[in-house]
């Protein structure tokens, strides 16, 4: 009888402690917002600066492939805050030499410029709509540069294993869905690296329409880095595959270079030919 009592007390304590631990996690370290904040930092802000050589394959319904090759420079102005981007197109031939300068601001529209070398034109681009496709791909500008943490409400809805990765599943609902153009997104965030492994986009009607999937993660300069990913458009039966050919962190990019000169005189030390 005593034994039964003792066992039941132990079981009860274990149960309670397990429950208690889990609860603490949900409220504090692993709440949806924290998970999302960690993800944003790991995905969009790793290290202070980065240089990436990116290839994109855009495959349409008929299986026709378009390819883009570009170099991207990124500098964090403040951790988790404003960022500067420079994007230089190497391929295809008709856009070779075209470049973009983007000053990303939290809380207001980004400043974006485009340079067309054939007519030596520096053009300011309106950026009200962040859902515009990035370079004709299935990624939008928002996918490439991220939504601000406060634009959505983040709810931790569970945990799930994807392959070998233990993931937190977070549902992010825009505070202004009409403006955002979708009803919610579901993120599978790797607990170890905080990188997103899968993102499901649900349209205004609540139907799944776009799926992002990470294909490969490599640790470069001690930084877990997504080196291959796809974005599938389910209705259009299209997808875009993005591959990071080369990523280097802390290459010495300084904030003073993000000016008009960068567009007219591409920084060959980083982008090569």
């Amino acid at each position: 009888m005593k034994k039964i009592l003792a066992v039941s007390i132990i079981v009860f304590l274990l149960f309670v402690s397990g429950f208690w631990t889990k609860n603490v996690c949900a409220q504090d370290t692993q709440s949806g917002k924290t998970a999302m904040s960690d993800m944003l930092l790991a995905y969009y802000y790793p290290q202070t600066d980065a240089k990436s050589e990116i290839s994109m394959r855009i495959v349409n319904r008929q299986g026709q492939v378009r390819e883009r090759r570009l170099t991207m420079l990124r500098l964090n102005q403040t951790p988790g805050g404003d960022q500067s981007y420079y994007i230089y197109f190497h391929e295809p031939a008709d856009v070779k030499g075209m470049s973009f300068l983007v000053l990303k601001h939290l809380g207001r529209d980004d400043d974006r410029w485009m340079y067309l070398p054939a007519i030596d034109l520096v053009k300011r681009i309106a950026t009200s709509d962040k859902r515009t496709s990035f370079a004709g791909s299935d990624f939008t500008y928002e996918d490439v540069s991220g939504r601000a943490l406060d634009e959505d409400a983040h709810e931790l809805i569970g945990e799930e294993d994807l392959n070998i990765y233990h993931c937190l599943v977070v549902k992010s609902t825009p505070k202004r869905p009409d403006e955002a153009g979708f009803s919610y997104r579901k993120f599978w965030i790797d607990k170890a690296t905080h990188l997103p492994l899968k993102v499901e986009h649900y349209n205004i009607k609540g139907k799944l329409y776009k799926v992002y999937e990470t294909q490969d993660i490599q640790t470069l300069q001690d930084t877990p880095t997504i080196t291959k990913a796809t974005m599938k458009d389910l209705a259009g039966e299209r997808y875009t595959e993005i591959t990071m050919k080369e990523v280097s962190y802390n290459v010495g990019i300084t904030s003073d270079i993000f000016q008009e000169r960068l567009l007219r005189r591409p920084p060959r030390q980083w982008i090569g030919d």
């Binding site: 855009i58 008709d94 529209d109 007519i119 300011r124 309106a126 859902r131 000016q259 000169r261």
Partner: protein, 456 residues
Amino acid sequence: MLSKVCSFIIIAFILAISISDVSFAESASINSEKIGNIPQDERKSPDAWAKIFDSVHGFIETAYGPKFLGDKLTQKNDYNLLEQRLQLKVAYRPQKPAWLASWNPEFFYKGDLLSDEYKEILRYQTREGYGLVSPLSWMDAKLGRQILTWGTGDYLFINDVFPKDYESFFIGRDDEYLKAPSDAGKFSIYSQLVSVDVVVIPFFTPDVSIRGDRLSFYDNFLGRIAGKESSWIFTEPAVQFENTEIATRLYRNLGEYETAIYAFKGFFNQPVGIKNESAKEVFYPKLAVFGASIRGPAPSVGGIASGEIGYSDSLQDRSGENRLIENSGMKYLLGYERDFPKDWRIGMQYFVEQMLNFDEFKANSQPGDIPRDEFRQLLTFRITKLFWLQTLEASLFTFYSPTDSDAYIRPRLAWQANDRWKLTVGANIFFGKHDWTEFDQLEGNDNFYIRLRYSF
């Protein structure tokens, strides 16, 4: 005959390129399989050739622009655009000698071989050919033939005093050809406080004028629309030290706003001076321009707003009393552009050209002179929509002048079939009331055009 030969050469070239593309791809895959068996030095030379071949880019394009109905005044009656073009460009960045390499040098060359069946000539033009160096970390110097652009206008120019090719613009060539190259030195100094560009142009280049051979226009000597019978004599400023043109721009960002001030001393790019009326001899009078511009996000409504202003000082007719030389003037421009969901984009501009010393102009005008308004107003409207994952662009650009009562519309469809082939169709349509206004004088040149381009 000659142009046919040229077309064949160009077509042969494009075939050669597309075939060699394939063979390169094949040889690469063979190499990678057999790589273990081939000695190091044997693999070197094809790589070197491939590298040279890889560094040359460009396009080949064929274009045809039939006229709608139009007048029968020009060299060819049925069309005003029929040509094949080969453009090649190459960049070279030497790594030695060390002193030069430390200047981060870049040499760039871009040339066009044009088989122009309208003019029945084969023409080679160097579009760009320059060296660019940074002797100091905060300084660039770009010397040679180059395209120069600044200012905030969309197809409208106030402080961009560099040469334009309106003939290309009106017949439907690519936008690239609206800008004509200058032989110049451009020196740029960068600092956080203010950055400076100084452009020195020792060899004057005028706009490509409309002369009646390809586009009919209002010939004020004849007092009517004229074509190939128009016979003006154009006198350009002599190449001498004191005729060197200088254009400067000082610019900096104030928060998210880009601001700039400009100054220029040189010549009008259009022959707006008459040297000898009976001989129909025209010239390019001396000109100074001072201006300013600002561009940045429009408060509260979103989008990009811009404003630009310029004072044109007609140095050879400052009083405005000489009816043979263009008066001084003020130009004002307001612009607004914004994007909307689903790849819609609109742009609007309001442009005013004010003639200074207007009373003198009126007092000195003679019967037969082109009537002018003190304030010429121009509105432009651009609407663009992208389809098919941004591979098809539909756009419409409209110029409309309420004071001149004329208009010019440029509809265009551009389809990027794949990474190499692009098909563009469009039209240039002019409307108006009076033969002598800027757009109505071109009414007989309405055309439709089609261009097919292969980029490599």
